[in-house]
Symmetry: C2
Subunit: 338 residues, 2 copies
């Protein structure tokens, strides 16, 4: 069991009795440019490389060229989300497929505690796609500040630096959704129920778009924050019952709400018109008016964006929004004798 001994350009050069510059040129198909090599020399080099089993050292190449056709995928999960049940799974599938298509291999990373900190592991690749990131991490901020090619899945802000991100086109679909619900807003009012959660960009964006379009349509919006168990109070329920129309920002709010409705004898789609602003549902709550699950597409877009950045394309001209399509379902179907 001998050790792994690398066959280098040097050894091939020695074997073929040429300079290793020639070997490099021949093996990279770059002869004919700044370096030219005779036909027989070339054949001999090729033969020696094969015979010795030459394998180029990618680390050295990366060091020299600065590129190695590798994209890192980073999450803050304990375990990398390849499990089909994981909420990031479809992102990953989209990333995977698109990386493949664009000729990149994938380095999959997570937040395990380790000797080398995350940023250096990420920087082994040419660029990275970041999923579900905790932005408080100094290590990632450092990368952003140094302009390392990083694309966040979902809009992200980092203080004192400009970030690159792709996200869902919430604005358009939320507008459609409100317009769809408009006929049910007989009281001129609409209730928006939010999870009790840390304020993050997606949450803020969804709320803002909702408020914007409501205002434009002359609707009043009352915002309700659920408790830590995703439940709302009976008083708040009364408000909803009166307004007849409610929108929920996350899937987790739906079950408690449905239970409450049942207790009060309220039927969704008959007594109330409701919808949910959730991009990650799969099979569940199919009776709710919502939008399409486009996580695969967003993962794919992230890689396209990164890929374009790496090719030096102008970032500003790149698409960064994945369109969402409204799905009208029972909870806002044919309500109120409409």
């Amino acid at each position: 069991m001998s050790e792994y001994k690398r066959v280098t350009l040097q050894s091939v050069a020695k074997e073929a009795n040429v300079s290793y510059a020639s070997v490099s040129a021949v093996l990279n198909g770059k002869d004919g440019q700044s370096i030219r090599v005779g036909k027989e020399t070339k054949a001999k080099i090729l033969e020696c490389a094969t015979r010795l089993g030459y394998v180029p050292n990618m680390a050295a190449r990366k060091l020299k060229n600065g590129r190695n056709s590798l994209i890192a995928v980073f999450t803050y999960e304990q375990i990398f989300p390849v499990d089909a049940k994981n909420e990031f799974y479809r992102f990953f599938l989209g990333i995977q497929e698109t990386a493949e298509k664009n000729g990149y291999d994938l380095l999959i990373l997570n937040n395990r505690p380790t000797v080398g900190n995350p940023s250096s592991r990420i920087a082994l690749a040419d660029g990275a796609v970041m999923i579900g990131v905790n932005r408080d991490d100094q290590d990632i901020v450092r990368l952003v500040q140094n302009n390392y090619p990083l694309v966040f899945v979902g809009r992200r802000e980092v203080a004192g630096a400009s970030t690159h991100w792709v996200t869902f086109d919430y604005k358009e679909v939320i507008s459609q959704m409100v317009v769809h619900l408009l006929p049910f807003c007989s009281t001129g009012k609409l209730v928006y129920v939010e999870e009790r959660a840390v304020e993050r960009e997606p949450r803020r964006d969804k709320r803002r778009y909702l408020l914007d379009v409501a205002q434009k349509q002359g609707l009043e919006v009352e915002i309700i924050e659920a408790d830590e168990n995703n439940r709302i109070t009976v008083t708040e329920m009364a408000t909803i019952a009166k307004a007849k129309v409610a929108i929920f920002d996350r899937l987790s709010l739906l079950h408690p709400f449905e239970v409450l409705c049942q207790e009060q004898g309220l039927v969704l789609g008959r007594d109330l018109a409701t919808a949910v602003l959730e991009d990650d549902w799969s099979g569940t709550y199919a009776n709710w008016t919502r939008w399409t699950n486009e996580r695969f597409e967003l993962g794919a877009l992230a890689v396209e964006y990164l890929s374009a950045m790496l090719d030096g394309k102008d970032r500003d001209s790149l698409p960064r929004f994945t369109p969402l399509t409204l799905i009208v379902s029972e909870t806002s179907g044919n309500v109120l004798g409409k």
Copy 2:
């Protein structure tokens, strides 16, 4: 949008007004060994590194150290098997989890046509786990010949080189299975049905273990090869009906066989005792006597093995077999009035 400009040891050293050797030592926590650094110097270095946003260059480290805590996972699939429906999915899950546990990141590779050939992409990592490999590839052979740390999932031979592999412990479980079926072998004979397929190590191993144990038990074995549609002839069916006991080497043979049985009015577990030697079933054919699906465990074992190799442990002392447990089910349940 400025370019990604790497902050190097050099720049930190310049900023802190020390030699970059000191910076390296401090940043790696290696001061106190061959290199010692004063307390204030150390603090200043740390401060500068943070302020400038220093990120170590893993490629350079790998070049120097020869290690970068990366394990490659290679398959010959077109697309890397992270899809839950893929037959390699459970291998991958086991690999994933164990790599994590042992402090390795994963480089996921497949056989896409590319500029750099597979072997150089693999060699970027410290070692690799190979799944479902086509051994004819010269590129991989090269790696094996150079003693690059490669662990195959499933026994593999490569001409002129010794390979490392982990596999299922077919021998023990096949022995148990034959012993289990023994009481049903009233004619002293057993039929073994094989897929029509390229002869590979797993196939050969399963057959050999079966023949060995049969001989030991004084049983005659008749081997039947199915046709390209995994079907057997009526004559062959008659042979099975007479022997009363049949073992199949792959799952794919089962459906055609069940159809044939139905046509002939034969009931498995009543008229015939049957079993299948398949490690990749999931939910399907639960009525068949078979063994447990241990693909996750085998994936995990592959990484443990590789990990131990990389740590310089003696390979010969390493476990390389994942045990399989016999599952007795209806097809050999309470047959023949037993």
